[in-house]
């Protein structure tokens, strides 16, 4: 599966406006982590270079040997010079090439991983995109991929190179004098218990550290967030003390972590390096007894210098390897997410009634928000939903938009159960205007245009006029071509509201879901927003509106009164007043207020 040729091609029979790629990008775990030619090449070159590094070792041996046996000649020196020179040049080329290939190979792997994750995001059901989850997805795509690539490019090659080189060296030394080889091997085997202990300590104290870090961060953040309030109550200094003690805890636990972890590496290094005097003693003894010639003795003596250093590097690299596995796991978690059932069921209802049948739903287990909710909304009917905060009103909208799925029960639009229909198809027919407005880092014109890609510029401007945006847009420096910044951070809350309404006006979908509190979030522009909403209602369509004041929706075709997750009353305003129930009580309370 090759991402190099991603082309948007309209496949025969694909749902209109939703092209399917040439070759469906359904990456599974294995494919996503495929290594590429560059990467393998770099490892091979890395190993070759490592072996060539051994040349230094051999040349040194021959030189000392020649010196000791008095065979050193100019000729020999010239040979050595040319040999070393050649090897030097070759090593330079190979390592430079291998290192660069490694960087590029690693970057290619990151690229594939990110594209895989991006593709996967499209397929995950919307109910998974809660705030916490989106944070995890973002972390996986940015931090985890970075960590994975870093460790992969820098450490894996080194691990392979160093392990193979040390094994070869130990093997070679053993052919000269086995006990030396054995000692070196043992010093390497010390890695096993060391790594084990190290992982244990890191896990235990790392967790402690992480926990304290989290609570410290929240203490600090609370202090900073509330500093103005705290100081206006004279609590600046006192609260500061609490914050200070929290920071001290963090400082202490960080230090504790180091104390626990440092000795392990130190002990290992000492024991490992003690192989040097041991080997020197054994080999020296052999030389003293005439069983070993001087040059071999020399060779054996310097080998621990190499092996100890390499074992030390291996210790660090293998510790990093663990982090690689952690990053990999984080990425895999996302790739393994359950996908929305893709299906080709078409969704072109003839009318847009909405019905809830025995719908039950909870965001968290054991805390039901909706219990056995039943209601029917006729096509092109204007229905208002009212009730105390927390009663479940917004949840009803979230279920219609398929942002969440009911635990039990059915939701029907146009008498078709929407559970098994792809969310894009359902959302095509719906406009949602609520307090959550997302703008893309693009021009205002484009941000509105997304609602109806084929709209002309005039249509967009008309929609903006109806939504009372046109005036403030024209006042901006670049007008409709102004870039709105990340999530529209260059616009005020009220302005973003109205752009959201402009989108809904432009899209003109058969169903409109609206939380009318949006009007009151920006009191200054309340009238402008309310009139924009009125314009939204110019054309008849199925409207479900969450209302927070009753007088504003008293002319709705039907009013649903929600309380504690159930529909307790329904009917027209007059009917509900006559009923003298919850609605009537709410109405009376609302009108107790003098006109404020």
């Amino acid at each position: 599966m090759n991402f190099n040729d991603v082309v948007l091609v309209e496949k025969e029979g694909s749902f209109k406006g939703n092209p399917i790629y040439e070759g469906d990008l359904s990456m599974d775990k294995k494919n996503a982590f495929t290594k590429n030619a560059s990467f393998y090449l770099s490892i091979v070159f890395n190993v070759i270079e490592g072996m060539l590094a051994g040349f230094n070792f051999i040349v040194l041996y021959y030189t000392i040997n020649a010196l000791i046996t008095e065979q050193l000649t100019m000729n020999l020196l010239t040979q050595i010079l040319s040999l070393l020179g050649a090897v030097f040049v070759i090593r330079l080329i190979i390592y430079a090439f291998g290192y660069t290939r490694g960087q590029i190979g690693g970057a290619q792997i990151s690229r594939i991983l990110r594209l895989t994750l991006g593709d996967k995001m499209k397929k995950i059901p919307l109910s998974s995109f809660t705030k916490a989850q989106t944070g995890e997805y973002i972390n996986a795509t940015t931090t985890s991929v970075n960590n994975y690539e870093n460790i992969l490019t820098h450490k894996i090659g080194d691990i392979i190179k160093n392990s193979s080189f040390t094994l070869l060296l130990i093997g070679f030394i053993s052919t000269i004098y086995i006990p030396a080889g054995v000692v070196l091997l043992c010093s390497g085997l010390l890695l096993i218990p060391t790594l084990y202990l190290s992982f244990l300590m890191v896990k235990k104290y790392g967790n402690q550290k992480r926990n304290i870090m989290t609570s410290n961060t929240s203490a600090v953040v609370e202090y900073i967030n509330g500093i103005q309030t705290l100081r206006s109550f004279g609590l600046g200094g006192v609260k500061n003390k609490a914050t200070t003690s929290s920071m001290k805890d963090y400082s202490d636990v960080s230090y504790l972590y180091e104390i626990k972890v440092i000795p392990i590496g130190t002990t290992f290094s000492i024991l490992c390096w003690l192989s040097l005097p041991i080997v020197l003693y054994l080999a020296g003894h052999q030389w003293l007894e005439g069983n070993l010639d001087a040059s071999s003795f020399f060779l054996i003596s310097i080998s621990p210098l190499f092996t100890c250093k390499l074992f030390g590097t291996l210790f660090i690299d293998l510790t990093s390897y663990k982090n690689l596995m952690i990053a990999k796991r984080q990425i895999e978690c996302v790739i393994e997410e359950v996908e929305e059932l893709s299906n080709e069921t078409s969704f072109e209802p003839e009318q847009y009634s909405i019905a809830f049948q025995n719908v039950n739903f909870a965001y968290n287990q054991g805390e039901p928000i909706l219990r056995n909710v039943n209601f029917e909304i006729d096509s092109s009917q204007f229905v208002a939903i009212v009730g105390p905060s927390g009663s479940g009103k917004s949840t009803i909208l979230n279920l219609i938009t398929k942002y969440y799925e009911p635990e039990r029960g059915d939701i029907l639009i146009g008498q078709q159960v929407i559970q098994s229909i792809a969310s894009e198809k359902v959302l095509q027919k719906i406009s949602l205007v609520d307090q959550d407005i997302f703008l893309f880092n693009d021009t205002i014109l484009n941000n509105i245009r997304y609602a109806k890609p084929e709209a002309t510029e005039q249509e967009i401007i008309n929609a903006a006029k109806e939504a009372n945006c046109h005036d403030f847009i024209e006042k901006l420096e670049y007008g409709y071509d102004t870039i709105v910044g990340e999530n529209g951070n260059k616009l005020s809350g009220g302005e973003r509201q109205r752009i959201s309404i402009a989108r809904a006006i432009l899209k003109d979908s058969p169903i409109l879901l609206l939380d009318e509190a949006t009007a009151s979030l920006d009191i200054e522009n309340e009238l402008a927003v309310k009139e924009a909403i009125k314009n939204l209602l110019k054309k008849k369509k199925t409207v479900v509106m969450i209302a927070h004041t009753l007088s504003i929706i008293k002319n709705a075709d039907k009013i649903l009164v929600v309380n504690e997750g159930q529909i307790v009353e329904e009917g027209s305003h007059e009917k509900l007043i006559a009923k003298e129930g919850k609605y009537a009580a709410m109405w009376r309370k609302e009108h107790q207020l003098s006109s404020v």
């Binding site: 991402f3 991603v6 406006g17 030189t63 000392i64 010196l67 100019m74 020196l77 050595i80 010079l81 070393l84 020179g85 030097f88 390592y95 430079a96 660069t100 590029i104 990151s110 690229r111 991006g118 995001m121 499209k122 989106t134 973002i138 953040v221 609370e222 967030n225 509330g226 705290l230 100081r231 206006s232 600046g236 500061n240 920071m247 400082s251 000795p263 390096w273 003690l274 040097l276 005097p277 020197l280 003693y281 003894h285 003795f297 003596s301 210098l305 095509q428 997302f438 893309f440 009318e516 509190a517 979030l521 009191i523 200054e524 309310k530 009125k534 209602l537 504003i552 002319n555 404020v596």
Partner: protein, 583 residues
């Protein structure tokens, strides 16, 4: 301004001065790593010693053992001291970080409230959490490690110079070449690295937008075009990284190879001089062996450079924050609570004028509403009363005393501000209302009853002992606000500033909130930033702020008649109240 003492602003010096008494740990750590670094060369010399003795055929068992004992001890010293160095450096580092952080938080408790607005607090958060953390890397790792890696090779070089200067200098050549190569590489690639950094920032922003906007992407069927934007960003980043690798990879890699090529110079040249008699065999061995390998100990230094710039940056930011002026002590709070702004001109940043020529008199116990569009300056006027910032021109007076002369803590104690966004600590509801005072539960309940929130609190599972931290998000906006009002009632300060953006999303509690506010305003001088204009009817006067100045001030009726823009605002407001939705 008073005398400005010229301090040595060198970042390293600042860092050490913040370390204070804990400096000793850092110094000791460097000392240990120095000795440890020096002991890295012992193995080379012991082996050289032994080989020389073999060469001259005078190695004995006793000599062997003697050498090896020294070697073993040096190994223990090397790693033991290195561990101690690491322990000390971490101790010194974490303590220093703690001290710096304390300085920042303490300073926050003393600066003007105006310098603690949202943008600045965001920066302070980054400073405390991320920037200061970078200092740890430098103090605990880079500093001792730099000393460690450098000390050995430098000592060897010096020693080699005492033996044979030309050869010693030649042995140094590989390092010079390697460093030169790196320098040339860095010089030519600044622009490229900038592009790389921008590309990564862009990629991250697009990834975040793609994932956070997924619901909208699905709603508008933008999956394919959004994905295309995503893939383009990924590809861009890859292409720049590829370009960077091709340009910078080879020189970076060559550093490693070049410092390992000492043998290439030592053996031929040393051998030649040996053959023509200018060098003894022992010296030749020394240089061929030790002289060719000692530079390889420098390899880890290649990666140490990049963090340093960030550390300097972090220190600079700390210094900048710690230098923001403190509003200090002064006189007691005056007995009268009338407020006056005289000819006030104010600019937050020294460039744009945020307030011009403001004159306003508020009598004791008066209730005045301030209205105006966002950006008109109304919030600023109100903030200046509680001395969020100092005015550039004119005076702000309370009880006929300039606020600059009043003790800042006293000032804050005698003014209550109820902000738009209620801040609750993670403590209990009781603690949140009491806010550090000695009030009893009865007093708290009385205040809560007036704030119309006592019933709600009693209905909670733990009543007044309910911890907000775990429950906090489940309070509605209106409930949080009434807790804030209860606080304010309990505090009972003579001047009240109320930013009245009571949550419109909680209209079923609107009656309670209005009642609570009415209770709160009793017997105080009240300034209300009015959002819902209805509240103006409960005030004595209304002040209209427009275009960074006070346009008019008078009773509601007077303003309706005299000020056309107020009239329009009022009409819009009433109109908005009367709207009903229908097809």
């Amino acid at each position: 301004m008073g005398k400005v003492v010229k301090q040595n602003k060198n970042p390293i010096f600042m860092l050490l001065s913040w370390a204070g008494k804990d400096k000793k740990y850092l110094y000791l750590s460097v000392l240990c790593s120095l000795i440890s670094g020096l002991s890295t060369i012992v193995p080379y010399f012991i082996i050289y010693q032994i080989i020389e003795q073999v060469y001259h055929n005078n190695l004995t068992e006793a000599l062997l053992i003697q050498n090896l004992l020294i070697l073993a001890i040096s190994i223990i010293v090397r790693f033991g001291l290195f561990a101690i160095s690491g322990t000390l450096s971490h101790k010194g580092a974490y303590r220093t970080l703690f001290k710096v952080r304390c300085q920042v938080t303490e300073h926050m408790a003393q600066v003007s409230l105006g310098s603690l607005n949202e943008r600045n607090t965001g920066e302070i958060k980054t400073l405390l959490n991320e920037e200061i953390e970078k200092l740890e890397l430098f103090l605990a790792h880079h500093l001792p490690e730099l000393v460690f890696y450098l000390s050995g090779p430098i000592a060897v070089f010096i020693y080699l110079c005492t033996v044979n200067v030309p050869l010693a200098l030649i042995s140094f050549i590989p390092l010079i070449v390697a460093v030169a190569v790196m320098a040339i590489m860095f010089r030519g690639t600044n622009q490229l690295m900038d592009r790389g950094a921008r590309s990564i920032a862009n990629l991250n922003a697009i990834i975040i937008e793609y994932i956070q906007g997924m619901r909208l992407i699905k709603a508008y069927n933008m999956s394919s075009s959004s994905f295309k934007k995503f893939t383009n960003a990924v590809d861009d980043e890859f292409n720049i990284w590829k370009e960077m690798s091709l340009k910078m990879g080879p020189p970076y890699a060559s550093f490693v190879i070049i410092i390992e090529c000492g043998l290439l110079l030592m053996v031929p040249i040393g051998g030649m001089w040996f053959l023509n008699g200018s060098l003894t065999g022992s010296v030749f061995i020394l240089f061929a062996f030790v002289g060719s390998l000692y530079l390889t100990e420098l390899r880890p230094l290649q990666e140490l450079g990049s963090n340093f710039a960030q550390v300097l940056n972090a220190v600079k930011k700390c210094v900048a924050f710690l230098e923001t002026p403190v509003f200090g002590q002064g006189q007691a709070f005056p007995k009268n609570y009338n407020i006056e702004l005289r000819n006030v001109n104010y600019s937050y940043d020294g460039q744009k004028e945020h307030l011009k020529n403001v004159n306003l008199s508020i009598a004791e116990n008066e209730k005045i509403a301030i209205v105006g569009d966002s950006g008109s300056g109304k919030s600023t006027i109100v903030q200046l009363i509680s001395r969020f910032n100092d005015v550039q021109q004119g005076e702000v007076l309370i009880g006929n005393q300039n606020v600059k002369d009043i003790d800042y803590e006293e000032l804050l104690k005698n003014i209550t501000t109820v902000f738009q966004k209620t801040f609750l600590t993670s403590g209990t509801v009781f603690e949140n209302i009491v806010m550090g005072s000695n009030a009893t539960l009865d007093e708290v309940r009385t205040a809560a009853k007036k704030a119309q929130i006592d019933d709600f609190i009693i209905s909670l599972p733990d009543g007044y002992d309910t911890r907000v931290g775990s429950f906090g998000t489940r309070f509605s906006g209106g409930e949080k606000q009434r807790i804030a009002i209860a606080r304010a009632i309990l505090k009972d300060a003579p001047i009240l500033i109320l930013d009245e953006a009571t949550s419109a999303a909680d209209p079923e509690n609107q009656a309670e909130i209005d009642q609570a506010i009415a209770e709160l305003c009793v017997g105080k001088t009240v300034i209300i930033i009015a959002h819902r204009l209805g509240i103006i009817k409960h005030c004595d006067r209304v002040a209209i702020v427009e275009n960074q100045t006070l346009q008019a001030c008078g009773t509601h009726q007077e303003m309706l008649e005299e000020n056309p823009s107020y009239k329009k605002t009022w009409q819009d407001y009433s109109k908005a109240r009367e709207i009903t939705y229908e097809f």
